[in-house]
């Protein structure tokens, strides 16, 4: 069987396996095994991909597999990966793996929990491997819908409200997306040709510019909503705040990346002309959300809200980079997606673990935790430093690449936007240190904290996995950026052919 298909099959098998389990122990064991296999598989995929490239395979997509599904509409089950999707798949593998271990003690309806969690993962994996817009959309929605149950059943706080809001807003986004995708489909080939959903086929020729003008906003905003594009980000804070740990991890870590990835793979790749024309609007929006999210985070008191807003800021940076539309910025965007995925997953994992001990998420109710739970404390500091872009961690690499890519534009508009975005690094430092200070440092505020026990083995496993990912990218980014760089070539060529009206 094609290796990529395995990425969908294994989770499905895992779900099937969980159906036969009885209690928490068995179900978490099954899912742990399944996701470990998945993680190993993604590692293997990365290895295979790199070797294949070194062997000189210049095909835009590797490991492609294509099966005709609905002949009448020429819908295919078409999969294939390039460096970018490989990177995203690896990210997903890591985050899901960590997520399973982070929810090791999910007592209530554990079977259902793991099933929905892994269904979500299935959707994400499927999304990243598919080349056919229809299947892509299919997996997209598969990934979105379990969120409702996951937040609604196992969430906390105003969970019904948050779950409903999140689901409806994302579905509203897919409404835009639907229009965009159908539009692309009906103009995918010149008059009389066999219409197709296949991204590569569509990319071969140019969609009529006036259609692009109409379709690009639909597609971009449709994906942008999932990528927390200002002002459509408002589902994210509530959603994250109410979601259980693992769900926040997966959602912020992986699901929000679907937005950036789609905006890049579909909106920009297939409609470069319109993208060039309309980029400025969205650049303004994204630069706003970069700074706006950071400022929003300063004021919050709930750990999850802080992290949610910082996600808005960081994901804003992803879309910002995507809109810069040059090789460096794209590379930066992808690295940022991965680094933010790992970092924010780590954050949410830690928050969940701390919450599990202190039973509060309000930073002003906590203090001096570093003394009692040094491991979690240290990891939290590491996560914080990573997210404020310290060299040696992935965040720095991503941000620098993005800034340089963005600054490559010579005109004043882009450079001002860049400098606005750059300024966010200071604000980030402010709120991260504020949290670290009040949460971990200082004297212990509450004597109940004195006898908290530090992380158990599964918590350590889950966090260390993510930390390793972050530092690995941070210390040796070259392989990753080259892998991405190479895969960008076709897109860059396509962009190079674009005649810019006006710009």
């Amino acid at each position: 069987m094609n290796i990529l298909t395995l990425f969908v099959v294994i989770p499905v098998l895992t779900v099937a396996g969980i159906l036969f389990t009885k209690d928490l122990k068995q179900s978490r064991m099954v899912s742990a095994i399944g996701m470990t296999v998945q993680l190993i598989l993604s590692a293997i995929l990365v290895y295979l991909y790199v070797t294949e490239r070194q062997a000189g395979n210049m095909a835009p997509m590797l490991f492609t597999f294509d099966a005709l599904w609905f002949p009448a509409l020429n819908i295919h089950y078409a999969v294939g990966v390039d460096g970018i999707s490989v990177a995203m798949i690896a990210l997903t593998g890591v985050v899901v793996f960590a997520g399973i271990f982070a929810s090791w003690r999910m007592e209530f309806l554990s079977r259902e929990f793991f099933i929905s969690l892994i269904l979500l993962a299935t959707g994400v994996f499927g999304f990243f491997i598919s080349l056919d817009l229809f299947t892509m959309f299919l997996f997209y929605e598969i990934a979105v819908i379990p969120m409702y149950l996951l937040i609604g059943i196992w969430g906390s706080g105003p969970k019904e409200y948050s779950a409903m809001k999140l689901t409806l807003m994302l579905m509203g986004g897919s409404a835009l997306l639907m229009v965009g995708i159908l539009g692309i489909y009906f103009f995918s080939v010149p008059e009389g040709g066999q219409l197709t959903f296949n991204v590569l086929e569509i990319a071969k020729h140019q969609i009529p510019i006036e259609m692009q003008r109409f379709l690009f906003p639909f597609t971009f905003v449709g994906f942008g909503i999932l990528g927390a594009l200002f002002p459509f980000h408002t589902w994210s804070p509530d959603g994250h705040a109410s979601a259980p740990t693992a769900v926040s991890m997966l959602h912020a870590g992986v699901l929000m990346k679907l937005g950036g990835y789609g905006a890049f793979r579909v909106a920009i790749y297939l409609m470069p002309e319109a993208a060039q024309e309309q980029a400025w609007i969205f650049i303004i929006l994204t630069s706003i959300s970069v700074v706006y999210g950071a400022f929003g985070a300063i004021f919050q008191k709930d750990l999850k809200y802080i992290n949610a807003y910082s996600s808005v800021s960081h994901c804003g940076l992803v879309l910002f980079a995507v809109l810069m539309m040059n090789q460096t910025a794209f590379t930066g965007a992808v690295i940022q997606m991965i680094s933010h995925g790992l970092m924010t997953a780590l954050f949410f994992a830690l928050i969940g673990m701390i919450y599990g001990r202190t039973h509060t998420r309000m930073i002003n109710e906590m203090g001096g935790l570093m003394k009692v739970i040094p491991f979690l404390g240290v990891v939290y500091v590491i996560a914080g430093l990573a997210s404020l872009g310290l060299p040696g961690f992935s965040g720095f690499v991503a941000e620098m690449t993005i800034f340089f890519g963005a600054y490559e534009h010579v005109d004043l508009f882009h450079r001002v936007a860049t400098i606005v975005a750059v300024s966010s690094i200071v604000i980030t430092a402010v709120y991260i240190l504020r949290v670290v200070g009040t949460l971990l440092m200082g004297p212990i505020t509450d004597k109940h904290f004195l006898h908290l026990e530090d992380a158990n083995w599964y918590e350590r496993l889950s966090t260390i996995t993510l930390v390793i990912g972050i530092t690995f990218i941070g210390v040796a980014p070259l392989w990753l950026s080259d892998m991405i760089n190479f895969s960008l070539a076709p897109l860059i060529e396509k962009l190079a052919t674009v005649q810019l009206p006006g710009m």
Binding site: W69, F70, Y148
Partner: protein, 473 residues
């Protein structure tokens, strides 16, 4: 015309024979033995359904009044399957002491309406169409009033009958004008002669409203909710699935054949009605607490989506309509089946009673959730594909904004479908519906639905099969 040609009407004939057999058997049963009617009639109907799948050459008899071909046969089979599921699901209700004396009447009436629908679908002229329509409607009115001691039920009956009479009156008036202006009642001759002149547009509108009444499109839908609520659950599901489906079938056929010259006009009309139907249906459905009424309004909204397919006015459009109705039958019957099962055991029909259902009756809740997702068009269940293809065919006509509105409406509908899911999975309840076991028939009925909901989507051959039979303008 030889006797063999009569066999072209084999579905109708078989059903008529079945109806007769039921009556005869019923004569020889005393009250205690009435229960036996259930296996007999279901068995007989199963036979009919199976025979329906035997391939059959295209034929036209009675000088074009009646014609049958692959597509028509397929539509009939779809309806048969639907009715079969309903029969399975209605058993536990029939067994209740109140109805145990009227079992065979139930089956008889049900089969009769089905005969009407079959005639309607394969009608070749307006006379047959009208005849089938009435035959499909009047017995349903009787069925709606089935529980005669229940005031709601009889109210539902009379409401259905009166409004349908009004609508068919208007429809007939339209037909009379068509006849007057073209001098024929045969589809093919009319289709050739029809042109876009005011009188004929007027006639078309009259006819269209008559059909719109059957599919319950806004603003011709108002009877739906009351009748659905008043009628016994299985009749409600029959109305909302089978008769709606049949009407949709014949509507799409007539639109694509008889009135094809009018396409430029009726596209706008359908655009308008579709938007109204989806929006109003959703807005009403949002607030409903009674499950039957809730499903009634949601089915109104669904009808609005069907119009998107007709709007395509091409092969893809017809395929998507038929495919959607097929999927819709399974999804909606799944929902109704659960409601019926619960109502039969506990008599509870309100959404609030469903709180915490998952903890007591997980299987029912799961099926309900699947049906809800399928109705809302969430992958991977079949409903997603049905809606997706409807949207595709609408987009093929360039109606992007309509698609946008439609998907937004789908989002709103997702909201209230999720309310049900929320009730079952998230809400806590002090006294939830107790755990119970349904009887074998119901289980089979529900399983068929679950199967359909799961398989139809991924099994693309179904779509291909329909596509090969369909045609466009």
């Amino acid at each position: 015309m030889s006797l063999i040609e009569i066999l072209a009407m084999r579905n109708e004939l078989l059903l008529t024979i079945m109806a007769m057999i039921l009556l005869i058997i019923d004569l020889n049963l005393n009250h205690a033995q009435k229960e036996r009617m259930i296996p007999i009639s279901i068995g007989l109907f199963l036979v009919v359904t199976l025979i329906g799948f035997i391939p059959q050459p295209d034929q036209t008899i009675f000088g074009g009044m009646y014609h049958t071909n692959g597509l028509v046969q397929l539509m009939k089979n779809i309806l048969n399957i639907g009715v079969l599921i309903i029969l399975f699901q209605s058993v536990s209700w029939l067994r209740s002491p109140a109805n145990s004396t009227k079992i065979s009447e139930y089956f008889f009436l049900l089969v009769t309406t089905l005969i009407g629908m079959n005639f309607m679908i394969s009608s070749g002229d307006f006379l047959m169409l009208y005849l089938g329509l009435e035959l499909a409607t009047i017995p349903v009115a009787a069925l709606a009033a089935f529980t005669h001691f229940n005031t709601k039920s009889s109210e539902a009956g009379i409401k259905l009958l009166l409004s349908s009479a009004l609508s068919s009156g208007i429809l007939l008036y339209g037909i009379s004008m068509i006849y007057g202006s073209t001098g024929s009642i045969y589809f093919d001759t009319i289709g050739a002669a029809y042109v876009n002149v005011p009188l004929q547009v007027l006639a078309f509108i009259f006819f269209f409203t008559g059909m719109a009444f059957k599919i319950s499109l806004v603003p011709f839908h108002l009877w739906t909710a009351d009748v659905y609520e008043g009628a016994p659950i299985n009749i409600t599901s029959y109305l909302s699935v089978i008769s709606k489906g049949a009407a949709a079938f014949i509507l799409v056929i007539v639109m694509f054949t008889v009135f094809k010259e009018l396409a430029p006009v009726y596209k706008n009309m359908i655009y308008l009605v579709a938007v109204l139907t989806m929006t109003i249906g959703n807005l009403f459905a949002m607030r409903q607490k009674n499950m039957k009424r809730f499903l009634a309004f949601s089915s109104i909204a669904q009808a609005g989506f069907i119009l998107l397919g007709i709007l395509g006015t091409n092969k893809m459009g017809m395929t998507s309509v038929v495919y959607f109705v097929l999927v819709y039958i399974f999804s909606n019957l799944g929902a109704f089946g659960v409601v019926a099962a619960i109502a039969a055991k506990t008599g509870k029909e309100s959404m609030d009673d469903y709180d915490g259902l998952y903890l007591t009756n997980p299987k029912l809740s799961l099926l309900m959730m699947l049906s809800m997702f399928s109705l809302a068009g969430i992958p991977p269940v079949a409903g997603f594909f049905g809606k997706m293809f409807l949207f595709t065919s609408a987009a093929s006509g360039g109606y992007y904004w309509l698609v946008f509105i439609a998907v937004l409406n789908a989002t709103i509908s997702l909201y209230y479908y999720l309310l049900v899911v929320k009730a079952m999975f998230i809400n806590k309840s002090d006294h939830p519906i107790a755990t119970f076991q349904s009887d074998g028939y119901t289980k089979i009925g529900l399983m068929l639905c679950a199967l359909g909901i799961f398989v139809l989507g991924f099994w693309s051959q179904v779509y291909e099969f329909i596509n090969n039979l369909s045609f466009g303008i």
